[in-house]
């Protein structure tokens, strides 16, 4: 298994006001596969991703990536293997840095040479020509910015890429391009993905296995067949599946409150 998470619990705050954002989450992802995490807001899906990159400190349970258990204090070298792509293409790039600056920074931090070559190569891979190299983020469209974000994640040649709603803020036509790009990159570089989204169709398209989360717990894991047929075990999953097919008054009558 490339990624193995067991009994992960993530809390915020302490004492009386402690919030249990994630409760006993366990999942495993084989190498080269794409795993989806789906849920509504507050379900804890993004919190798991952030814990994987070491952003939230209060965790119990184990996270093992590529055979290495992840501690709360990360070394610089360990950062190379796992990178993240964020939701908001407008917020995830530094507004004062050109594309070149943004892409060369990880190379400088990890002391990798041949910077020019690597940057030009990666820009090509994500579908941006070298002419975009010296533009600032505000001179790029949403889709182009997201490509730069993907390039930044990819330039360190990681094994795992975490995708936090990478296409939610994009137009539908641009979303299709980015999803195709992510799919192609995974196959070419044998990457392992964990993708978080609230959109079941997007996750279903890219991922082979999907975990459904509600209020911090993983309720159910769906296979591709279950995605297609909707034959799922848990009521909440069924509700989510039905709602993803569009507005339906009859279906709504059967909805329950799970919040």
């Amino acid at each position: 298994m490339m990624i193995d998470i067991k009994d992960l619990c993530i809390t915020f705050g302490s004492g009386h006001n402690q919030i249990h954002a994630v409760k006993n989450a366990s999942l495993s992802v084989p190498e080269g596969e794409s795993y989806g995490l789906v849920g509504e807001s507050g379900s804890g899906k993004s919190t798991i991703l952030r814990a994987m990159v070491g952003i939230n400190a209060q965790i119990t349970g184990s996270i093992i990536v590529d055979g290495q258990a992840l501690e709360s204090k990360r070394t610089v070298a360990s950062r190379k293997h796992m990178q993240m792509v964020f939701q908001d293409p407008y917020g995830s790039l530094h507004p004062r840095k050109t594309v070149n600056d943004t892409l060369s920074e990880p190379l400088v931090i990890h002391k990798l040479g041949d910077r020019d070559d690597r940057i030009i190569r990666i820009l090509n891979e994500v579908g941006l020509g070298p002419e975009f190299r010296f533009r600032y983020p505000h001179q790029l469209s949403g889709g182009q910015r997201q490509r730069v974000a993907i390039a930044r994640a990819l330039i360190l040649e990681p094994r795992v890429i975490l995708l936090d709603e990478p296409t939610s803020a994009l137009d539908v036509s641009v979303q299709a391009e980015i999803l195709n790009l992510l799919s192609a990159l995974r196959k070419t570089h044998k990457l392992t993905y964990i993708m978080v989204s609230h959109d079941l169709a997007v996750v279903g398209h890219l991922c082979s296995k999907i975990a459904v989360m509600n209020r911090g717990e993983i309720i159910e894991e769906m296979t591709e067949e279950q995605m297609r047929s909707g034959k799922v075990k848990h009521d909440y999953t069924r509700q989510l599946w039905t709602a993803s097919h569009g507005y339906s008054r009859e279906a709504l009558e059967n909805f329950k409150e799970f919040a």
Binding site: K80, Q83, F86, Y90, G91, S92, P95, Q139
Partner: protein, 309 residues
């Protein structure tokens, strides 16, 4: 506009407006140029820029504009009204007021320069470090900031003068040490907002050290507001230096500092108005210039405007 001038312009302008910059230098020049175009559309800001530029030019070319050093006394010629020979008249020691104004511009620029290079780095570093690192470090730094904020400028200047002796540099130091605190607070407030940005998170995930995040990511974002704030404060700084000079704590005679000129000339306000008034007008114009420039810069440099959607 003739055709040839359009063609001549198009080379540089085309380079500055090209869609796809070829290198980092071009990208940065383009950014500055677009900022300049935006700045140009604001006539009031342009006025401020012209005034400040004028000040710099006068200071630079002082020896050629005024000749001498502004300290040539001619006691037989004292307190003469403005005339063809002495454009701004003469003061109580027979010195040419115009020459002293011109030489005084160098002193004004010196004050501005000294204050800026002390206040900006200290304010920025203290503020951003405090905001980024948080915890005990933040608390300690902010308390130090509060202490300096609480100091009345005049008392501190007096203390410095008592210890180090009177002089322009000591007065400037006193001003700088009581001015940096608000900049630290400003930088800290901005850092607190920026700290949770996704690009900072991305840098952390990449393995960037805190120092790198502080200097390469956060500081560039705080720089603009600090520059704007400093420009707007400049008027106050000049006036404070003038005030200290007025009290005899700053520039010492015979240095041609505008504030000191008002101080020594105030006895003559009623009958020989030009002696204290003209330096006063000079201070007014320069302060105004900096204020207008600062306003214009804020419109251009505000990160919210320049593409941070």
């Amino acid at each position: 506009m003739s055709d040839t001038s359009i063609k001549q312009d198009s080379g540089l302008v085309a380079w500055l407006l090209a869609d796809f910059p070829q290198n980092a230098f071009q990208a940065r020049c383009q950014r500055a140029y677009i900022g300049w175009l935006s700045f140009k559309t604001n006539p009031i800001a342009m006025l401020g820029l012209i005034i400040v530029a004028f000040l710099c030019l006068v200071a630079l070319f002082a020896p050629w504009i005024a000749g001498g050093d502004g300290n040539t006394q001619e006691l037989s010629n004292r307190l003469q009204p403005p005339s063809m020979e002495h454009w701004f008249g003469t003061d109580e020691l027979g010195r040419d007021v115009f020459a002293r104004i011109v030489w005084g511009s160098r002193v004004t620029l010196y004050i501005i320069f000294l204050v800026s290079i002390i206040v900006m780095p200290i304010g920025l570093i203290v503020g951003t470090a405090s905001g980024l690192l948080g915890g005990v470090f933040d608390k300690i730094l902010m308390r130090i900031t509060d202490i300096f904020l609480a100091f009345p400028r005049l008392i501190l200047a007096l203390a410095f003068v008592a210890v180090l002796g009177p002089g322009l540099e000591n007065a400037v130091l006193a001003i700088a040490l009581t001015t940096w605190s608000p900049y630290a607070r400003l930088a800290r407030a901005e850092t607190l907002t920026l700290r949770s940005s996704e690009y900072i998170m991305a840098a952390e995930i990449m393995g960037a050290s805190r120092i790198r995040i502080l200097f390469a990511h956060i500081m560039p974002m705080c720089l603009s507001s600090t520059i704007v704030r400093l420009t707007l404060d400049m008027a106050g700084i000049i006036l404070t230096a003038a005030g200290l000079g007025f009290l005899g704590l700053g520039a010492q005679p015979p240095l041609a500092e505008w504030g000191a000129m008002i101080a020594t000339g105030r006895d003559f306000l009623l009958d020989q108005w030009w002696v204290p008034t003209i330096p006063g007008i000079a201070i007014l114009i320069v302060s105004l210039g900096f204020n207008l420039l600062g306003d214009g810069l804020r419109d251009v440099l505000d990160p919210r405007n320049s593409g941070g959607h």
